[in-house]
């Protein structure tokens, strides 16, 4: 019966070419937007080099310090991370690093802006960078405060014209570093591994950062397994209660260890009730709400084209009242007819989905080529395809179920007469 239904669906689509074109435009446009959004999220969140062990990695990106009348929210400082986040049970490795800062370099009188990140040696053991040449700097390099650097491919091009760079030196932010390794560009949307230049933490111009509870540092934690996350988070939360404050204006500290998805939720968590979809002031995470909110947004976005498609489907179905009457007269149940019309609608949506998939690939290619997001390579892949397929199916079902139900309720006598009753 499926074959017969699909053949009929094909004929019906060809019969009213204008309606079909309008329907396909609506479906494919909607799915293009959704698939591009999915591809961007996939680019931000999926495990990919150098964040290959993301499923067992937690990050500490934000802290909130409070007193009776004072509040301070920012990235945590080195002291907080070093004193209270080291040696958490279940953590295999921990790395502390700064946020990426824009720093200037001058090359032949030309200013070059780069993003520079200062890290410890463990950073290179948790993240799995592929080295185009050379090697990472080591914990010993950091301890000895050696002025060595790892740079990305773009920086190699900027500073050395793309020639081999290991052993050569360059200046950044008024300091001179010797290149020990070169890695491929990492997209800006990958917050933890992104930078143009990585140098040891200890090369900072002052060591005052070591005394700061709040500052511009972050940390990542490689757990033995994701099942250790709750215990790690609990222990860290308990340690925060014992923080010794260096500034008497403050007496409490909150900060949360977050997965990448939780971090993204927190970063997007805006509005009057912060902590609703991300991590709240008590360090509780609500990433489930984040995914639910994305789902609701997707459904809301699909709502208008769905209503349009429902209307188009209703007029198509009423044209086919006689067919409905015949099918009922010859033994079709309402349920069978709902199935038939759902198959037709899902088939239409999948055609729209296929067009949308091709268009989304074009849009993503253009987005990548535009350089709007540094080093981003937005692309269609298996995950995005499956999401697109899922969204097309949801869209097909949403827009088909009501017309199909209405149609199945037609009285056979009225349907044979060509109208509703």
């Amino acid at each position: 019966m499926l074959g017969s239904n699909l053949r009929l669906a094909y004929k019906v689509l060809l019969r009213r070419k204008f309606f079909t074109a309008v329907s396909l435009f609506g479906i494919s446009f909607t799915l293009v937007v959704l698939m591009v959004a999915v591809a961007v999220l996939d680019h931000m969140l999926a495990a990919r080099p150098p964040e290959t062990r993301q499923e067992r990695t937690l990050g500490l990106h934000f802290a909130f310090m409070k007193g009776k009348s004072w509040m301070w929210s920012s990235e945590p400082g080195f002291l907080l991370l070093d004193r209270y986040a080291r040696g958490l049970p279940g953590v295999e490795r921990m790395s502390i690093f700064t946020t990426a800062h824009d720093v200037p370099s001058y090359l032949g009188g030309t200013r070059i802006n780069s993003s520079l990140k200062r890290t410890d040696g463990e950073y290179w053991k948790i993240l799995e960078f592929t080295f185009l040449e050379g090697r990472p700097y080591t914990t010993e390099d950091v301890d000895q405060a050696r002025f060595v650097a790892v740079i990305n491919a773009t920086s190699r091009g900027r500073f050395f014209g793309g020639a081999p760079a290991v052993g050569k030196t360059f200046e950044a932010d008024g300091q001179r570093f010797q290149v020990v390794g070169v890695v491929p560009d990492v997209p800006r949307l990958r917050e933890v591994p992104f930078a143009d230049i990585w140098v040891p933490l200890t090369t900072a111009k002052s060591d005052s950062y070591r005394r700061d509870l709040m500052g511009d540092h972050k940390a990542i934690f490689l757990a033995r397994s994701a099942s250790d996350f709750p215990a790690i988070k609990d222990e860290f939360r308990a340690r925060l209660k014992r923080v010794e404050f260096t500034d008497s204006h403050y007496d409490s500290m909150s900060a949360a260890l977050e997965t990448q998805a939780e971090r993204t939720a927190s970063a997007l968590d805006v509005g009057p009730k912060r902590g609703f979809i991300g991590t709240d002031g008590q360090g509780n995470t609500h990433v489930g709400r984040f995914w639910a909110a994305l789902g609701v947004l997707a459904v809301l976005f699909m709502l208008l084209p769905t209503v349009n498609l429902v209307n188009l489907n209703m007029s198509r179905i009423m044209e086919r009242a006689s067919e409905i009457g015949v099918r009922k007269a010859f033994g079709a149940t309402s349920r069978t007819l709902v199935g038939q019309f759902m198959v037709e609608n899902v088939a239409l949506t999948l055609v729209g989905g296929a067009i949308g998939f091709v268009l989304a690939a074009v849009v993503l290619h253009a987005l990548t080529a535009s350089g709007l997001v540094a080093y981003a390579r937005f692309e269609m892949n298996g995950r995005v395809f499956l999401w697109g397929l899922g969204l097309a199916l949801v869209f097909g079902v949403l827009s088909g179920v009501y017309p199909a139900w209405r149609m199945s309720r037609l009285h056979p006598v009225a349907a044979l007469g060509g109208g509703a009753r």
Binding site: R7, F330, T333, R335, P412, L416
Partner: protein, 221 residues
């Protein structure tokens, strides 16, 4: 085969009540060929719809093979319509987007048959009505008489024991009408299919075993 006892059909809207049929009692024996006659609006098609379980009586009872129809719920009557009853309509009601053979297969879609079995039965039914050479044509490529023959093939493909024909020659010229009636009579005589036919044509009614006459929703014979 078919029994109607005290059947009444009333159509109600918010403001008006229309009695389409009242006090109809009817027995049709197995293999019988009867016709229903009467002026327009007298309830002929309503009676045919009640016999075909396309509509439920407001009062009274319809029975097939001695078994009263207790429920007119979709899932209860759809299998009976599928297995026991074949319909022929005045305006053919073929699906324009489907080929002749696909149209004929429709009743078989609602049975558990393989595609091969369905195709074989549909081709047999088309051969029975003399349309073997037109199986891949579309309805719009056929004459009115040929379209009605396709409709007959569709009605008999599931080997129903009852054939309900609502003015089957009403849209055809007399020669094509005669051809169609010859097929219907042949089905009745050779295969003992019970036929109930609504017609305005006295000559065609006289060729059936019995004629039921209706006037203003009542049996008048």
């Amino acid at each position: 085969m078919i029994q109607l006892r005290g059947v009444e059909k009333v159509y109600r809207t918010d403001t008006i009540e229309t009695v389409a049929l009242t006090g109809v009692n009817l027995d049709v024996a197995e293999g019988e060929f009867i016709s229903i006659m009467g002026p327009s609006g007298c309830g002929k098609s309503t009676l045919l719809n009640l016999i075909g379980l396309l509509d439920a009586p407001t009062q009274g009872q319809v029975a097939l093979h001695g078994a009263p129809i207790g429920s007119y719920r979709d899932r209860d009557v759809a299998p009976i319509r599928n297995k026991e009853i074949g319909f022929i309509f005045q305006s053919f009601h073929l699906i324009a987007d489907l080929s002749v053979v696909d149209n004929v297969e429709i009743p078989l879609l609602y049975r558990t048959l393989s595609a091969k079995e369905r195709r074989s039965l549909a081709l047999q039914a088309l051969e029975r009505v003399g349309l073997s050479s037109r199986v891949h044509h579309f309805p719009s490529q056929l004459s009115g008489g040929q379209q009605q023959r396709v409709a007959i093939a569709r009605a008999i493909v599931g080997r129903p024991r009852i054939l309900l024909a609502d003015e089957p020659t009403g849209n055809l010229d007399s020669q094509m009408g005669d051809e169609i009636m010859a097929i219907v009579h042949d089905l009745n005589q050779r295969e003992k299919t019970t036929v109930v036919m609504v017609t305005h044509d006295l000559l065609r009614a006289e060729r059936t075993a019995r004629t039921i006459r209706l006037f203003d929703g009542r049996q008048v014979n």
